[in-house]
Amino acid sequence: MSTETLVQEKKEVKTEAWFSKRRKRFITDPLNEDNPITVQVLGICSALAITIKMEPTLIMSIAVVFVVVFSNLIISLIRNLIPNRVRIIVQLAVIATLVTLVSELLKAYNYEMYKVLGAFVGLIITNCIVMGRLEAFAMGNKPYDSMLDGLGSGLGYAWIILTVAFFRELFGSGSVFGFEVFKAIGIENMPNNSLMVDSIGAFMVLGIIIWIQRSKTGYVEH
């Protein structure tokens, strides 16, 4: 026992901790100060298109987190082998493969959602967040760091679209995850706001989130 703990301690001294301060920032930064949607303004298209209801949004979030984490990992693992001149094509091939796998899995095990999300799962390929992280981070960093970075960006995307979807479903359809909230708390005649079901509703909710966030962080565009 004693020797085992000793070895572990030695390792920790040599290498960086799994969740050192520097690594934690990979995850926490994109959640707020460097958020891919609200600050970098990437991936807006899907944030508008699939956030009408919570359930498809959750599936989409999981899909994007999966794709960005694993494409970051794969690219980081082979970063020293990739010829510089075709690196974008290589990145695209990796992303497209992962996205196709997600789409095929959905088709096999959740056909209902496959029909709802339709083309939007395929369009993760063109989601700039994924390619942005590959080009900016995974090409120059170690695999584990890249995975954390991907996880951070993925979660940063996920919480924003889930928040947008929450308000859109609540006011547009009067429910959350299909559960009728207003009826449950005794408001029978709460009218649905069809503006929320439209993309305009997403713009408005997103705008309000950006406003609140920027007034808190003090971020200004130059």
Binding site: I52, I82, N84, R85, A96, Y111, E112, S194, D198
Partner: protein, 250 residues
Amino acid sequence: MRQSNGYILTFTAIMTIAVGGILAAANQLLMPAQKKSIELDTKTQILKAVMTINPGDDVLKLYDQRISSLVVDIKGEEVTSNAKGEKLEAEAVDVAKEYKKEYKERLFPVFRFMDENDPTKVDAYIVPVYGAGLWDKIWGFVAINNDLKTITGVSFAHKGETPGLGARISEADIQSRYVGKSMYDENDRFVSIVMKKGEIGGGGEGSIAAFSSDTNHVDGMSGATLTANGVNSMLKKYLDYYQKYFNKVK
């Protein structure tokens, strides 16, 4: 080295083979599960036209027990084999593909909903419908009572109608308006069922009540007249295609 043309070509070749291999393997492995989900989805839609399907219901078993299907042509004659002479199954007929053919060439599946106690008695005839909405394709199934006049129920689906407007055709609120309507007028002429412009009943029970005395019309969808036009023309065309068959079994 990493920049030479030879290296780039080798790298991309290996990558292509690896990626292609992974995707082909995934496709092969997932194929049975995908076929099953598609089958389940189609059968659920067919049954939804005549009954409520609750989550957890054994759709495949229900389908086997209650549905007896066949394929007919435009003349109402039963078709049992395809062009290659293979046995034709109604479930395998792709209505979307048939839609691309000239209507006289199309195959028309009929799903007969048999009585629970008497398996030789038909309770309802379920026929597929297919057409164009405002933005993209719309499709569904219409169940007709064994008097071959009255609609027992409909189930509609769509690919890209506007959420909250035209997309409402896939909701029970709209579909329930068709129940009990007739595709013939008082003089027994085929007129189909037409969705009106505007929503005078205001949705829900009100919409059903507003048209309770009019057996050939249903209340419309506010703000979705163009989708409604698509539904109307889809119903009219497809119910018309089946007239010869209906007259035969009447």
